[in-house]
């Protein structure tokens, strides 16, 4: 998965729009699961219609979610199960459990299920897992999800198995056992080992870049053919053992990715569902411009699936510059914002856009506590905002706040809705629309003084509150490409993050994260806006098309087809 995909995953970019106007409109309907109407069985060919032109299939380079493409091909030590009405959970995959931690949370031991083989017949032992992880450290295979690279002891200076030899912090005392020694206690390690780099790679394989086109599979599917930019054809991996797999149903016989498809055409094809298109689904979410029209098409009733929740859209306030360094001013922002207007700008109405947000931890994450430190009607409390501004010493409002915004994904329009809302309270912002790359360079760059506020969106990489909080509010994430856009640095919060990360018991860690959530919002470094819903379209004969509470993407591993 490339950076653009990642941006898409966090809701930063949009596909080509404009097709919406051509789609027929009939009657409206509510958000629907649709999955229940199709009875699935084993067999058939599933078509994945994608607007992007490349997919990362090399486990070292992949940054895809555990429930999407790479999960079809690669098993890891653990996997995710998702459900439409429960938080995502971590389950054993190649391992017999989700990991046994030492008392200090720094050593994690896994036992592998016996008798498993890869598609080329290589037995899956601890050596294949260790080699796969080590391989991800080589400069030639960088680009994937790399949380383990700094967590494993000695990982920061390790250069991979080809130049750096053996990584001592991964021990393989016997073929069924693998032990990880971490640099610091880390309670979310069971989630980390669900990431692509924890897939087995036969020792000595994968030395060249072509492994990305023809990886050796451990999951239900292997790559049968790949035409760059055009098509990927997956067929059954005869060595996959369904009985040992808790996360994958492996129902279709084949899965064909059609790449580089126009998003407007994808929507039309799926709604028409003629021929093979009935067995397809769109891998990118339907963009808001198309959504309003698609939703009113009769086929959409059963074929459009909208998530219950999703990425947190938020307004980041730069706590290190100008008037926004003042807590009272930032609190005034909490009341001045009109979240209803933001919903309408996002998708035309509140229901399609997603629920109003008041916490940093997103819905569908274990341990999340619902609270609102700044209770106000969804369209804001202008009087209260003005009062706070006056208390802060700005009775006449604030002028000339620099508000850079990416032009991708309708962001500039969303920012206008925020600008208008702030104006009601006498806060004048100057929008600075930028190309997405330019925006990223400024927002994640090292200059603390480069902007006053900006609009962003965040979806965790794994279903732990850790992934909601640390990347956005840890001091280490300021600048250098990090996403602490508020440039928020509070020792007490950093300590809380370290403590929560080091807590092995998920329930206890969850309490600490919820505490961090509250503590951070007391400082009001961001205004949580909405939990952005994603909508996906599938063909009329695709079933078990379920979007879990988290992540707001369909679980590819569970899809099935009607006869």
């Amino acid at each position: 998965m490339d950076r653009r995909d990642f941006l898409k995953a966090v809701g930063l970019t949009a596909g080509v729009s404009g097709a919406g106007a051509l789609l027929a409109a009939c009657n409206a309907n509510e958000q629907s699961g649709g999955a229940g109407t199709v009875t699935v069985s084993s067999g058939g060919t599933l078509y994945v219609l994608y607007d992007v032109t490349s997919q990362r299939l090399d486990p070292a380079k992949s940054s895809s979610l555990a429930i999407t493409t790479s999960g079809l091909i690669h098993r890891r030590l653990t996997a995710w199960t998702t459900s439409a009405d429960a938080p995502a959970t971590v389950v054993p995959d190649l391992a017999t459990d989700t990991g046994r931690a030492s008392a200090d949370g720094k050593t994690w031991t896994y036992t592998l299920k016996p008798g498993l083989k890869m598609s080329d017949g290589t037995p899956i032992t601890s050596a294949e897992i260790k080699y796969g992880i080590e391989r991800s450290f080589d400069a030639a295979f960088s680009g994937g999800l790399g949380y383990h690279k700094t967590l494993l002891d000695g990982g920061s200076s390790y250069t991979g198995p080809f130049k750096g030899g053996d990584l001592a912090s991964i021990e393989t005392p016997d073929p069924q056992t693998i032990v990880f020694h971490l640099a610091r206690p880390y309670g979310d390690w069971p989630w980390i080992v669900s990431m692509p780099a924890f897939a087995p790679v036969p020792k000595g394989k994968g030395t060249d870049a072509n492994y990305d086109s023809s990886p050796i599979a451990s999951g239900p599917y292997q790559v049968a053919s790949l035409t760059k930019g055009v098509e990927i054809r997956l067929t059954r991996n005869p060595n996959w053992d369904a009985k040992t797999d808790l996360a994958r149903t492996g129902l279709p016989d084949e899965i064909v990715y059609q790449l580089g498809q126009d998003s407007g055409v994808i929507a039309q094809r799926l709604l028409a569902s003629s021929g093979n298109d009935a067995f397809g689904f769109g891998a990118s979410f339907v963009n808001p411009a198309q959504l309003a029209q698609i939703r009113t098409s009769p086929a959409a009733k059963n074929q459009l699936v909208t998530s219950k929740s999703g990425a947190l859209a938020y307004l980041a306030l730069n706590v290190r510059r100008g008037p926004l360094a003042n807590l009272k001013v930032r609190q005034a922002f909490q009341y001045a914002i009109d979240k209803t207007a933001f919903q309408i700008a996002t998708a035309g109405n509140a229901d399609l856009a997603g629920p109003v947000a008041s916490t940093l931890i997103t819905q569908g994450i274990t341990g999340r506590e619902e609270f609102d430190l700044y209770p106000a009607p969804p369209n804001g409390d202008v009087a209260k905002a003005k009062q706070l501004l006056a208390e802060a010493g700005f009775p006449n409002g604030i002028e000339n706040l620099d508000f850079p915004v990416s032009t991708a994904n309708n962001r500039a329009d969303l920012a206008q809705a925020l600008q208008a809302a702030l104006q009601r309270a006498g806060i004048q912002t100057k929008l600075r629309p930028l190309d997405d790359d330019a925006w990223t360079a400024i927002a994640t760059g090292n200059d603390d003084n480069a902007y006053d506020l900006t609009l962003s969106s965040w979806q965790p990489d794994f279903p732990s509150a850790n992934s909601n909080i640390q990347p956005l509010f840890g001091t280490s994430e300021i600048g250098n490409g990090g996403y602490n856009l508020s440039r928020y640095s509070v020792p007490e919060v950093d300590a809380l993050i370290t403590q929560a990360q080091g807590t092995v018991d998920p329930a206890a860690a969850g309490k600490l994260w919820a505490q961090a959530d509250r503590r951070i919002l007391q400082d009001a470094p961001v205004v949580p806006l909405i939990y952005t819903r994603n909508s996906f379209l599938h063909g009329s004969k695709v079933g078990d098309f379920v979007i879990g509470e988290f992540p707001a993407y369909p679980n590819y591993l569970q899809l099935g087809l009607a006869k």
Partner: protein
């Protein structure tokens, strides 16, 4: 003979100079932008250490002027990225290596070129024939129904956006009438029939958009030529109208048309971005869009150079063709 050789030699030198300027310009513009091509290969979370490793591996850690000369040098000597077992070798002539697509830029362009050539040439034949025919017919029936109708249709073609025309075409011929496939590409070598079948709609869409200019151009030109002395002379000499129009007038009409056509075709060979996108044709236009989106500098350089090469080549061909079509323009 010597003069012709010198003409060709001077033109070739000019072409290389233009390509050098284009490559340098592309490189410079890319580095003026606040983007970091290594960011795409940094992974998540992107630590400063990871970024430095990626940057060094891809060769983006050097000053950009040096990177430019490395790029030029690699065309003659090839290039190796990284060291040891996992090194990536890009043999000469190396026009760069795309780390996003895991392939040398030349191989990527080679993969995509047949698609773009199929699309561009097929569409060009249609629009050239249809455009000139419509233009000439309009001129000969000036002010009458044929003229009005042809010019109205071409006005629609020239003003409609490609994306809209493409989608309307798909909606009408693909979904409603269900007569042609709506997307995809079948290589000519695999099945000529399927090849043409998948391309017929994109051809018509591109032709519809482009033919307008040719119809209007050849109409205007034809009207002008028909008023010339030599046409009156030819008619006075009793030559059949078919000969007057088909031989004398048309040849003069073709002169400016050829110039525009060569450049249009050259530009199109660099990639028809929107048409390729709408019909999911994996051509050079799509490759260029990917390169821009993925901040893939080597690919961007390669495709831009290639596109520029076609435009320059087209100009060269026009100059040569001019001599053939119009004896007055020959080197003498």
């Amino acid at each position: 003979m010597n003069r012709t050789l010198r003409f060709v030699g001077v033109r070739l030198a000019g072409m290389i100079a233009v390509l050098l300027v284009v490559s340098f310009g592309t490189f410079a513009v890319f580095y003026l932008l606040p983007t970091d091509p290594a960011l795409m290969s940094c992974g998540k979370p992107c630590t400063p250490e990871n970024l430095a490793v990626a940057r060094e591996f891809m060769g983006f850690d050097k000053p950009w002027i040096q990177q430019y000369f490395d790029f030029l040098g690699a065309i003659f000597t090839g290039r190796t990225f990284g060291t040891g077992a996992t090194a990536i070798v890009c043999p000469a002539p190396c026009f760069g290596y795309s780390f996003q697509q895991n392939e040398s830029v030349l191989a990527l362009i080679g993969d995509r070129l047949p698609v773009t050539v199929s699309l561009a040439v097929g569409a060009a034949v249609i629009w050239l024939v249809a455009g000139i025919a419509a233009g000439v017919a309009s001129a000969l029936r000036r002010g009458r129904f044929t003229d009005r109708a042809a010019m109205t249709v071409t006005l629609a073609g020239v003003s409609a956006p490609a994306y809209l025309v493409g989608l309307l075409g798909i909606l009408l011929f693909g979904f409603t009438l269900d007569v042609v496939p709506v997307s995809g590409y079948v290589p000519l070598a695999q099945s000529p029939v399927d090849w043409a079948w998948h391309l017929v709609l994109p051809w018509l869409v591109l032709a519809f958009i482009n033919a307008a200019v040719y119809a209007r151009l050849s109409r205007g030109q034809m009207l002008e030529v028909l008023g010339e002395d030599f046409i009156r002379t030819a008619r006075a000499a009793g030559l059949p109208e078919r000969t007057v129009i088909g031989k004398y007038a048309l040849r003069n009409v073709l002169l400016p048309v050829v110039t525009v056509f060569a450049i249009d075709l050259g530009t199109l060979l660099g990639g028809a971005v929107i048409t390729e996108r709408v019909f999911a044709l994996p051509g050079l236009g799509g490759l260029l869009v990917d390169a821009v989106h993925q901040v893939d500098l080597p690919l961007l350089m390669g495709v831009s150079l290639f596109a520029a090469f076609f435009v320059v080549l087209a100009n060269f061909v026009v100059d040569v063709l001019y001599g053939v079509l119009d004896p007055r323009a020959r080197v003498s």
